[in-house]
């Protein structure tokens, strides 16, 4: 691809941002907003082979291009941006500061895409800074006190981060003798450099103890911005590490140990901090922190044992994509849910929200499940000392994520974020699409790059039980909290309430039915008996019964006569015969009577007189 294409992909959002300053162009531009990241996405899709183009004229010499890793980053980042901008278009429809948001949003987009496409340190740093600073406006967008303090925190970290990163890049460039990132990556960088780079990118990544800015910022920013902040921008930190740190080349055991420890702490500390939050988006932010802890585990392992890197790289990329898409979907979903006005829509969206949440929590056969298992198997190659703990931590991270997701959803229920109410269904679409992509990731991934996908998808699908246990405990906790809140008795009567409501409902229906039945039950017999009385149906019944019995008897007689010979019937029996019969039968009866009496006497002893 010519450099122009790369430049276009990067500057197209910038151009749009510029055009947005003109009021006449705004309507059309807002409508075009989802298209802003499209060139970058197209580029990522079309450029399947590694590519490096340079423009020596720009600044200190501009190098742009794509390689296997950055292409994938580009694709999911662009996808996320497209979804977020589709949401932003509707989200900002009635916002007074929509233009400012749009401009900054597009600028951040441009920076984000730019840093991925950049191949030299200068461009990378510039793009990174553009993204970071533009995002400040996004965080501050609402201008309310929470946003202001979040933004303050954010900008503080950004500033420090940029400073550290700058130092790091400078040192790296010095030590490698090139401003090309690829060269730095291959060089034997000093420990300090690596440390600086790690901290600089780590701030963006939000790994503890550098995470402080992240959750408040995610909570404060408008939903589309949160989505990209959490999904795309923090991945820029990872991307930076992947691009600049000589992973798999040089071993930095101390760094690795630290990063790994930080990662482990992050996973669970984020949980502890997150569950205390009452805003859904902040909790989601903590969840991001926690997830980045997982990634930090991978990074730490790679730092310690470079041999593990080939196995770890695909996993980390996959995890990045997985988290970007799912978490983005979660944020968009939270917004979309909050924007809904109808009960049914909320119910549907609430159910849909469970999908990315479960994916994040590592449900088997989802990207989360594959990613985590793949990471486990990749870590086998790493430090043996850490391995059991890593495995345990990874497994438990599913639990942690589940809690955080549950907490987020619970918060969403009790304390939904502010959201515009103009076109709720339009906000649902990007969420649903992105959630679809997130769910389908295990399918899409090999299509994009089967080589990098292969080790991931070869892993086990993941275990259900952490998720299940998490859900269970979360539910229990929720129930307990709820019970605590409304009082035990009310709570327990609440538990039976659906049953009661159902039985009431049934009872009402039953009562209505019964009333109707009673009406019918009184009216029908009354009318029947009145008519039977007036029409004197009893008299008819007499005749009818005679006919019926006669017919039955006639049939029976005919049947009987068919068996016997007709001659017997036609000739009248003689008198003697007639007289004989009763005698016989009388005798017979007498004998029978004796028998019966005997039985009677036997059974009841002396009460029956003996037959003397």
């Amino acid at each position: 691809m010519p450099l122009a294409v790369y430049l276009f992909a990067v500057s197209w959002p910038l151009a749009m941002a510029f055009a947005l300053l003109f009021s006449a162009a705004r309507p059309i531009l807002w409508r075009m907003l989802p298209l802003a990241a499209l060139p970058a996405l197209m580029l990522g899709m079309l450029q399947t082979t590694p590519d490096l183009v340079s423009g020596a004229w720009f600044v200190l010499g501009l190098s742009m291009g794509l390689d296997q890793v950055s292409r994938l980053f580009l694709i999911f980042t662009a996808t996320l941006w497209i979804a977020a901008s589709s949401a932003a278009r509707h989200w900002m429809r009635d916002d007074a500061r929509a233009t400012g948001f749009g401009v900054l949003f597009l600028m951040a987009m441009s920076g984000n895409l730019g840093l991925i496409l950049s191949k030299d340190a200068m461009a990378f740093y510039g793009a990174f800074a553009l993204m970071s600073f533009a995002s400040y406006g996004l965080v501050l967008h609402t201008r309310d006190p929470g946003a202001q303090s979040a933004a303050r925190l954010y900008i503080g970290f950004v500033v420090i981060g940029e400073l550290i990163l700058f130092s790091g890049l400078v040192l790296a460039a010095t030590q490698s003798g090139s401003i090309l990132l690829a060269d730095m990556r291959a060089a034997d960088l000093s420990g300090l450099t690596v440390a600086l780079l790690l901290v600089g990118f780590g701030i963006k990544l939000g790994v503890m103890p550098l995470h402080f800015w992240l959750p408040p910022a995610h909570g404060a920013a408008p939903v589309p911005a949160s989505a990209v902040l959490s999904g795309a921008m923090i991945k820029a930190g990872l991307f930076g590490i992947l691009s600049a740190v000589p992973l798999g080349v040089v071993a930095y055991p101390d760094h690795g140990t630290l990063v790994m420890a930080a990662g482990m702490v992050t996973i669970f500390a984020a949980l502890l901090l997150g569950v205390q939050e009452s805003s859904a988006k902040t909790v989601l932010g903590y969840s991001s922190v926690s997830q980045m802890g997982i990634i930090a585990l991978g990074l730490g392992a790679a730092l310690m044992t470079p041999e593990a890197w080939p196995a770890l790289l695909p996993v980390l990329v996959f995890l990045a994509a997985h988290h970007a898409l799912s978490k983005g979907a979660m944020f968009l979903g939270v917004g979309a849910w909050a924007a809904q006005t109808g009960r049914v829509a909320r119910l549907i969206l609430g159910a849909a929200l469970l999908a990315p949440a479960l994916v994040l929590a590592g449900m088997p056969f989802s990207s989360g499940g594959f990613g985590k298992e793949a990471l486990k198997s990749a870590l086998v190659l790493g430090s043996e000392v850490w391995l059991p703990w890593l495995t345990l931590a990874l497994t438990l991270s599913g639990l942690a994520t589940t809690f955080l997701m549950a907490r987020a959803l619970a918060n969403l229920w009790t304390n939904p974020p502010k959201a515009p109410r103009t076109k709720p269904e339009a906000l649902a679409l990007p969420f649903l699409s992105l959630a679809g992509v997130a769910i389908a990731l295990p399918v899409i991934w090999p299509v994009l790059d089967d080589r990098i996908a292969a080790p991931v998808l070869a892993a086990k699908p993941g275990a259900l039980w952490p998720l299940a246990v998490g859900v269970l405990i979360a539910l229990t906790a929720a129930v307990a909290a709820y019970a605590q809140k409304i009082g035990l008795r009310a709570f327990f009567s609440g538990i039976t309430a659906p049953g009661r409501a159902l039985s009431d409902q049934l009872g009402r229906q039953w009562a209505a039915k019964r009333r109707a039945a009673r009406r019918v039950g009184t009216a029908v017999p009354r009318s029947l008996s009145n008519h039977a009385h007036r029409w004197r149906l009893g008299q008819t019944a007499i005749a009818g019964l005679i006919v019926a019995v006669m017919m039955i008897e006639a049939t029976a007689t005919l049947r009987a006569t068919q068996i016997k010979t007709p001659a017997v019937l036609l000739s009248a029996p003689s008198q003697e015969m007639e007289l004989d019969k009763p005698d016989l039968s009388t005798d017979r009866q007498m004998e029978d009577a004796d028998a019966a009496r005997d039985t009677f006497s036997d059974r009841y002893g002396p009460s029956g007189r003996s037959p003397d």
Binding site: R536, Q539, T540, I542
Partner: protein, 96 residues
């Protein structure tokens, strides 16, 4: 074609006419009449059954039975008619 056949069928016809009357008539007196016809019809059947081709004398038992039946029927009729009269009086009193 002997008298017993003719009168037997007659008896059944009379009984049937009485039955129709008993079932359909709505006037009290007429219902009594209808029942009385039924009884005559039943009497016919028994008398016919008793009949023997002359010169043989008929079977006396059914005759006795029919006489009994007639007396029973007149008793029943008398009671029914008494009821009717009493009811007529009571209903007439109410109408006044």
């Amino acid at each position: 074609m002997t008298p017993d056949l003719i009168y037997g069928v007659t008896g059944i016809a009379v009984f049937a006419i009485g039955l129709v009357g008993a079932l359909c008539a709505q006037d009290r007196l007429r219902r009594v009449l209808a029942l009385k016809l039924c009884s005559v019809g039943a009497g016919f059947l028994l008398v016919v059954g008793a009949w023997r081709v002359p010169p043989a004398s008929p079977d006396p038992v059914p005759h006795a039975l029919v006489i009994t039946g007639i007396v029973v029927m007149v008793s029943a009729t008398a009671v029914a008619l008494a009821l009717i009269r009493r009811l007529q009086s009571l209903e007439a009193e109410d109408d006044d």
